[in-house]
């Protein structure tokens, strides 16, 4: 039942060969997913009958794309809008404005019938596998549900497909008759992945898929995701707050702060050559499990807290905590463009500094 040995990680293209100067995936073919100027505002519900209690600016004009078989890591801290972005891609929340195109087809404003068709190709795995599996349903039925919904369940092949999906994620076909409570957290997450894969999607949105798992279990699920991608060529939008996991699994990485992408580039661009002060602060704050290295590193400790997304700062949203902030930062929103460093960065004063 081992699913290993299919392809070595070395087979992945080295970071440097990827076209690094844009926010786009390798340009040899049209990207699978294009998100353009995506905005999502939530109206804050006020007390009693007051309507205009404020607007939460969750996602404010973000643009990125994902190529076939590619992993884009979306990182940021609580409230930065990464989960909302994932949900907007899935059309689980309707974007306020902007566009989400999948294989060239605009998803915003699609009716429920057309959306169902699209969702065959875009599936999702959530953080808490317990919450997303029906406790009263054998996991085999949970995995088969998408087949029923999309009219693909056939008597002859249905069971086989469920068994194959279980095998694919490293579980036994016989596990199909068991209930979610009979599995450990790591195994439940494997069931969640099996269910997401059964329709053979082209894009998987993974929202904090391993953050609830202990490290020794997490490693198996991360390895599984990497192997599945090599075998099936699925693209991942990998949303997580754990910068170490994101570095491990991603081809390209986008860093979000208060609803905006502040830096985007290949894994090596963002981790080895970060230019945005927030990216640098974020990376420098992650403790490295190596005592000598950790104790000799410089940690950037930011002042204060993330401002409220109800009243984000003018201009650059990071300026209130930035040690480089000048007048221009309050006046002008820095565009996310290549400023000479080889990858797009939204800062008026970018400066390449290695912090890892």
């Amino acid at each position: 039942m081992t699913a290993s040995g299919q392809g070595r990680p070395e087979s992945r293209a080295p970071d440097e060969t990827v076209a690094g100067a844009t926010a786009d995936p390798p340009a040899d073919e049209a990207p699978l997913l294009v998100v353009d100027e995506l905005v999502k505002h939530y109206a804050k519900r006020g007390k009693t009958l007051r309507r205009d209690a404020g607007i939460v600016h969750a996602v404010c004009g973000i643009t990125f794309s994902i190529g076939r078989g590619e992993t884009l890591g979306l990182v940021g801290e609580s409230g930065c809008g990464k989960t909302t972005t994932g949900r907007a891609v899935l059309q689980l929340v309707a974007p306020t404005s902007g566009s989400v195109r999948f294989q060239g087809r605009e998803l915003t404003g699609l009716g429920s019938h057309s959306l169902r068709e699209v969702r065959r190709d875009i599936q999702v795995v959530f953080q808490d596998p317990f919450a997303s599996l029906d406790p009263r349903m054998p996991v085999g039925e949970s995995i088969a549900e998408p087949l029923h919904i999309h009219g693909q369940w056939e008597r002859g092949t249905g069971r086989r497909r469920v068994a194959d999906a279980l095998t694919l994620v490293g579980l036994e076909p016989a596990h199909a008759n068991r209930f979610p409570n009979e599995f450990s957290g790591g195994q439940r997450q494997r069931v969640g992945i099996a269910r997401a894969l059964i329709l053979e999607p082209k894009l998987l949105v993974l929202d904090e898929p391993v953050s609830a798992l202990d490290v020794s279990i997490q490693a198996g699920v991360v390895n599984l995701l990497e192997e599945l991608q090599e075998r099936l060529g699925i693209a991942y939008l990998f949303i997580a707050h754990d910068l170490s996991v994101v570095r491990h699994i991603s081809d390209r990485v986008a860093v979000m702060y208060l609803g905006r992408i502040v830096e985007i580039g290949t894994r090596a661009d963002v981790y080895e050559r970060p230019e945005h002060p927030y990216t640098q602060a974020l990376l420098s704050a992650v403790p490295v499990p190596d005592p000598r290295k950790e104790r000799s590193r410089t940690h950037i400790v930011l002042e204060g807290d993330v401002p409220s997304p109800e009243a984000p700062p003018s201009g650059c949203r990071f300026r209130t905590r930035c040690w480089k902030a000048k007048d221009v930062c309050a006046l002008e929103v820095p565009e996310l463009i290549d400023r000479g460093g080889g990858h797009p960065v939204a800062c008026h004063f970018p400066e390449r500094t290695a912090v890892v």
Binding site: E77, F183, G186, S244, E294, G304
Partner: protein
Amino acid sequence: MADPTLSVDKLKVDFGQGDDAVHAVRGISFTLDPHQVLGIVGESGSGKSVTALAAMGLLPKSAVASGSITYAGKELLGLREKELATIRGVGIAMIFQDPMTSLNPVYTVGWQIAEAIQAHQEVTKSEAMAKAVVLLETVGIPNAADRVGNYPHEFSGGMRQRVVIAIAMANNPSVILADEPTTALDVTVQAQVLSSLKTALEETGASLLLITHDLGVIAGLADRVLVMYAGRPVEIGTVEQIFYEPAMPYTHGLLGSLPRLDSDGNERLRQIPGSPPSMVGDRQGCPFAIRCPLRADICDREEPELRAVVGPVDPVGADSSADGPGAPADPGPAGADATAPVHLAACHFADQVVRLPVASMFPDTSADHEDVRE
């Protein structure tokens, strides 16, 4: 030699009785020397938090504890609430994962810090309030003089945790117990809280028992590390020994399973097969055996005791000394550990394991080897 400030000896904690008893802690011994940071690591259910609760006298009534926990020569296990109250805060202070479990939502933070000060010190309310402002400044709360009048809900999560650290510092304790103090926090907030915690240690000179599952936090802060598995310590050593010369397969596995911020990510993660054992009932042999690549007959028969590791002679680098505290941050007496065997591991093959390259023991597959639960 200085008296150990906190000493735990053969501590066992059970929940329930008979065959259904959960053996949460199955015998843990350690001493926390003055000015030392001892890190306890382990996964969920390894017994690390129960150990801390026992040390604070905060075990629920359903728990049965045996063994001994002494602070400055005084036995804490079985002590009455009233006597414990004279030690809590002034002798041993505690920081929990969720600051709202220690802060009262209906009082201002200044009031709560002042209350802690007045509980153990003969000062007036206004003197205590003035000290509260100083403490808030020390832990890095901006505009401390204004913020003392705020309630906990007016602070962010990271700021609340810094208020808790201020309260922990208030009476210059000699021991601070911190149970997952930064686990629920974002990484930049974690950096702020860790920096406040370091300040607290410098200001009070307290030793720290740091319980966390985050090996990165341990690497940055701990002098010595205790690795727990299935309710027992399976390895104890200096932070350098644990990270560079681990002698227990479980420690190897933990280190190999971590994705690293400082690695280009092209290598597969090493996976420990299986999952931690159930803590219900009794079992024979090494609790890690079923997940261990070195499993032999003896592992199924005998649970290995912690014993001194005969390590390789400094294979890592010339700058690590085998018996020094290893951490430049440690201002404590260098000879504090000299009498005790420094590096202990509970493995029948520890002397072989310590010679293996770190994290090389486990496969880099994605296979699921866990047994489906009953």
